[in-house]
């Protein structure tokens, strides 16, 4: 009986008063918008019939700052964009400038860069997993994920003294030689991580509620994903097997064997599986890399004052969130003429409207989580 009365209520509300559209303002202060994202949702009951992302609350004008700093001075700034994957940001920037300078980092630097970047990918995915699970209501994985992420951050701290915004690399190579027990630390982490990731999967992968909350939610077909410019795990979960690490190898990725996990349906569950598998693959890359770190210099021959010859270069790497591109124009002076950063989060977030339409408010949360955005990078 209750069913009918409540149905009547909704019917009445639609026909009599026409008050069926509700605009819900989510954020910029909301527990699950992962920062200062603001989403305006048009709701019919709890169903989303339209949405608009309002961004820019964290806009700091990074690209403008770049034009007023020297090449080296700007390097620490990029860490502040995707602050949960600072190492990846740094790698992209350093390699872009190296391309502009037409130098290449020595092999030893490349391998250490690869190790740290892959660790950073694991850390970034761990943070994603924890918060995503928390958004869907599972409290506990967050703490497990932070426990493991802590190990990675400790390795960073030992290597360069910083945990979050590391500025680990320099243009032309590395500033610091690897510390003595780096290999051992990484190996210990990787060995332990295998069983830990199985633990997370036991908590979530076959959980009926988890399946119900993620399967069929926020479907992005391959063609749509490409049209919307989605990259990284979002694109791969839609079934496009494209990873810049394989397609256009940089750092030392061409030396290692790893798989590119792809999904089939492009729903939230697929993106979950893809990221979980990516963590496993990153772990394998780390294990391969520490086996044979070549000796030699860690810094290429670059001067103290960098004046790249005029010209321009676009260099993209596979950041944890997707394609992170740097388009740098040099006019031959010590400061870049223009630095354009192609942020994966910004572009991926554009797919939000497409994914959220027709879903419920609760799914909106899951979809924001599954896009794995960092507002520092969206807004720059």
């Amino acid at each position: 009986m209750a069913t009918d009365t409540t149905k009547d209520a909704r019917e009445k509300q639609k026909t009599l008063l026409g008050a069926d559209e509700l605009v819900l303002n989510m954020g910029p202060q909301h527990p699950s918008t992962h920062g200062v994202l603001r989403v305006k949702l048009k709701l019919d009951g709890e169903r989303v019939i339209g949405s608009e992302c309002m961004i820019g609350y964290l806009h700091r004008g990074v690209e403008k700052i770049a034009e007023h700093r020297t090449y080296q001075q700007f390097a620490p700034y990029v860490d502040r964009m995707d602050y949960v994957a600072a190492v990846s940001n740094g790698l992209g920037y350093c390699e872009a400038i190296e391309k502009l300078l037409m130098v290449e980092a020595p092999p030893r630097a490349k391998v250490i860069r690869t190790i740290l970047t892959e660790l950073q990918r694991i850390a970034s995915h761990l943070l994603w997993l924890g918060t995503h699970a928390l958004d869907i209501g599972a409290l506990t994985p967050l703490f497990y994920c932070f426990r493991e992420r802590e190990e990675i951050l400790k390795i960073f701290e030992k290597y360069c003294g910083a945990r979050l915004t590391t500025h680990a690399f320099r243009i032309g190579g590395l500033q610091y030689e690897a510390y003595d027990t780096l290999e051992k630390d990484v190996e210990r982490f990787c060995k332990a991580f295998e069983s830990r990731i199985t633990d997370y999967e036991e908590l979530l992968t076959q959980n009926r509620i988890w399946l119900g909350r993620t399967k069929g939610v926020g479907i992005l077909k391959a063609a749509e994903a490409i049209a919307l410019g989605a990259t990284g795990p979002v694109l791969r979960a839609s079934g496009v097997k494209w990873d810049i690490r394989k397609a256009m190898p940089y750092a030392a990725y061409d030396q290692y064997k790893f798989e590119i996990p792809v999904g089939t349906t492009g729903d939230t569950y697929d993106r979950y599986l893809v990221r979980m598998e990516e963590m496993r693959q990153s772990r394998l890359i780390c294990l391969q890399a520490i086996e044979n770190i070549p000796s030699g210099p860690i810094m290429a021959k670059v001067g103290k004052v960098l004046k790249p010859p005029p010209g321009e270069v676009y260099h993209a790497i596979e950041a944890p969130k997707g394609e992170l591109g740097y388009y740098v124009i040099s006019d031959g002076t010590v400061q870049p003429y223009r630095v354009r950063i192609r942020p994966p989060s910004f572009v991926n977030l554009q797919a939000f409207d497409k994914m959220a339409r027709g879903h419920l408010v609760a799914d909106v949360v899951a979809i924001i989580g599954t896009l794995d955005i960092v507002l520092g990078e969206v807004d720059r």
Binding site: T5, E11, L17
Partner: protein
């Protein structure tokens, strides 16, 4: 003495609640006062040792029907309701009906010669342990002497329920 005080307390609350229900402009406030009136009535039942009726009143009317009322009201745009006249055209009809009702009650009290003030027999306290178990008695009378009406009512409700489901299905 105590019983009477409690009775008049509950009655006053019920009457006041009922009046406020129809005079409030805000629909939600009306609903709250209706709940108050219903609860006060339930209180009177309890005082009369009709425990089963008391809990039925609470579970069905307050806990069930009023929740749905409030549910509906909250979805409705309140401004519209406020703008509408409180007492619409039916006020004469309403007055007539309430007068008739009052006359009926008065007549009943008059005919039994038990006007208030001449001793209130309904309130004479029966010791609790002397009463037969309340819910059992209700069940017995329902399933023995009033079996047919009970079953008819059940069938009626069932028909209503199925009808509602069918209508809802067709719409959806």
């Amino acid at each position: 003495m105590l019983d009477q005080v409690i009775f008049y307390l509950f009655s006053a609350v019920a009457v006041a609640g009922a009046i406020l229900t129809v005079t409030r402009r805000n629909v939600v406030h009306s609903a709250i006062f209706l709940i108050t009136a219903l609860l006060a009535t339930a209180g009177i039942f309890l005082q009369l040792r009709a425990e089963f009726l008391f809990i039925v009143q609470i579970i069905l009317y307050v806990g069930g029907i009023m929740v749905l009322f409030v549910f509906v009201i909250m979805l409705v745009n309140l401004d519209v309701a406020v703008r509408q006249l409180r007492f619409a055209r039916q006020k004469w009809v309403a007055l007539l009906i309430s007068l008739a009702l009052a006359a009926q009650v008065g007549l009943m009290l008059w005919s039994t010669g038990k006007m208030p003030g001449q001793g209130v027999p309904v309130l004479s306290a029966v010791p609790a342990d002397k009463l037969p178990p309340n819910s059992e008695e209700v069940a017995k009378s329902l399933f023995s002497s009033y079996l047919l009406p009970f079953e008819i009512a059940s069938v009626l409700l069932l028909v209503a329920m199925i009808g509602a489901v069918v209508m809802a299905k067709r719409r959806a």
